[in-house]
């Protein structure tokens, strides 16, 4: 069977994952290859202040607002990606 275009959601998800990893790696001065979905903030040396800084960067990059409650439960790269995906999906139509 000839591969067809992957479903759009996956493309977005992959791109989102990579963007999140790239942002975290850049901020923490890490090789992006060493940052995975399962990396925890603790493993990456991300303290509470660093996390606030990361959230600010994500909000700025994706033009979104991450509610404090959602932000507080983010402890790993996967948490971040899932959380951001939800905020992006809930965004009202026509939002940037």
């Amino acid at each position: 069977m000839i591969p067809v275009h992957a479903p759009r959601e996956d493309v977005v998800a992959d791109a989102l994952e990579q963007q999140v990893i790239d942002i975290i790696a850049k901020k923490r001065k890490l090789d992006p290859a060493t940052v995975t979905l399962d990396s925890t903030f603790e493993q990456l040396g991300v303290d509470s202040l660093d996390a606030a800084d990361l959230l600010f960067t994500f909000e700025d990059t994706f033009s979104i607002v991450v509610p404090d409650q959602a932000a507080q439960s983010m402890r790993s790269v996967r948490d971040v990606v899932d959380g951001l995906r939800k905020v992006l999906a809930d965004r009202p139509a026509g939002a940037p």
Binding site: D53, L55, D60
Partner: protein, 408 residues
């Protein structure tokens, strides 16, 4: 009560980075006041300020450090490094609980605040940067110095406007005297040259309009004085108990013999005469000094009409006949009024006057004012022995601090 001595000095000011540049230009009467470069001051009344020249933050801090440090904290850290190095100041692990920090600042991290407000109000952003609070907070320099030097004793910030670093140095000395600490890193830092702050000071109508030659804008005690000039920078000193300094064989630069703080309890901006006079008298008393022992007064000398005439009255009241023979100078003509850093820079100037037997001049002095009739050491530094000296600082709100220094 224990004796307190000064063993280290660090300065970042409009006269340059480091104490050698500060003292050289101070005694040469070379002003650091220039047209503002931090932003375009076109259309401002106060277009001149005493900016720190050539301060490249990347020369002193890694990128990740800079993110957390407002300009005023950067000045404080750079000056602290110099003071510690010059003093050979090292703190052993078992001493760390008894060494502290006291840093004055009038306004805190206003470079960060001004920039943040521009984005929130001007550009409609809805989130401030998460490092805004740690950068803006007035205690940021004290916190960063304690972290970097691993000092776990009393650490505090003092925010008494133009007298902040005099109070910081004085209260730090009191902690040593009282046995609550054996050494303190003390001083002040300020970086107020941003549009929002300059506009607010303009509104007070106390800033001098820029002179044709910007270096001549600030003219303390001179008949043609037109007001103060904002400055920036940091002054940091190492204070130690006499015992600690002697035991380690430190080069003792001067003794901080006396300190006093008083309040006018009168007016929010207009200076009084009684409480400042009492501050001088009390500082002399604590230092066991008679008025005639004082060979130099480093004046608050802001170059406003009111401050300089009032301060003259105060000096005459305290020193009586001795006031006629007493050299008084304001170094603000050269390093500007660096707010919370001013008193610390002036403290350093006073220590060095004692140390070198040279009194820095009141620059830009052109004509005597009948209301200011003392010896202001006009325009030329003067070589003369200085056995003891005082430095005055009188803040808005009528909060006064005077320190008395003595040769050792």
């Amino acid at each position: 009560m224990r004796r307190v001595v000064v063993t280290g000095l660090g300065a970042v000011s409009a006269l340059g980075i480091g104490v050698p540049a500060f003292w050289e230009r101070l005694t040469a009467g070379q002003s650091g006041v220039r047209r503002i470069t931090a932003f375009d001051p076109t259309g401002y009344i106060a277009q001149a300020a005493a900016e720190v020249p050539g301060f490249s933050t990347e020369d002193y801090f890694e990128e990740t450090e800079r993110e957390l440090l407002d300009r005023f904290t950067q000045f404080a850290i750079v000056a602290t490094r110099e003071a510690c190095a010059q003093s050979g100041f090292e703190v052993a692990e078992d001493e760390r609980d008894r060494v502290g920090v006291a840093i004055g600042s009038g306004m805190g991290g206003v470079v960060t605040q001004d920039d943040g407000y521009r984005k929130l109000y001007g550009k409609g952003m809805t989130r401030a940067h998460p490092f805004t609070i740690p950068r803006v907070m007035n205690n940021a320099p004290a916190a960063h110095i304690s972290m970097r030097q691993h000092l776990r004793g009393p650490a505090l910030s003092i925010a008494t406007a133009c007298a902040a670093s005099a109070h910081a140095i004085g209260e730090a000395a009191e902690m040593i005297r009282a046995g609550r600490a054996d050494a303190m890193i003390a001083g002040g830092a300020e970086a107020p040259i941003v549009p929002g702050v300059v506009r607010c000071w303009e509104a007070m109508r106390v800033l001098a309009p820029m002179a044709d030659d910007p270096a001549q804008t600030c003219r303390p005690f001179s008949r043609d004085r037109l007001g103060m000039v904002l400055g920036e920078g940091a002054g940091i000193v190492i204070l130690e108990s006499w015992e600690r300094a002697s035991a380690r064989g430190a080069d003792i630069l001067a003794e901080l013999a006396g300190y006093a703080a008083t309040a006018d309890a009168e007016h929010i901006t207009q200076p009084g005469t009684q409480a400042p006079s009492r501050a001088i008298t009390l500082a002399l008393q604590q230092g066991g000094l008679a008025p005639t022992d004082i060979d130099y007064v480093n004046a608050h000398g802001t170059a406003t009409r009111l401050n300089d005439s009032t301060e003259t009255t105060i000096i005459k009241r305290v020193f009586g006949d001795h006031a006629r023979r007493l050299p008084v100078s304001s170094t603000k003509a050269l390093h500007g009024h660096a707010m919370g850093a001013s008193a610390a820079l002036e403290f350093i100037a006073t220590v060095l006057a004692i140390r070198h037997g040279v009194i820095p001049p009141t620059a830009n002095y052109s004509a005597p004012d009948p209301e200011c009739d003392l010896d202001y050491v006009p325009n030329e530094a003067r070589s003369t022995p200085v056995r003891a000296a005082i430095s005055n600082s009188f803040a808005f709100g009528g909060l006064n601090a005077v320190v008395a220094l003595k040769a050792v």
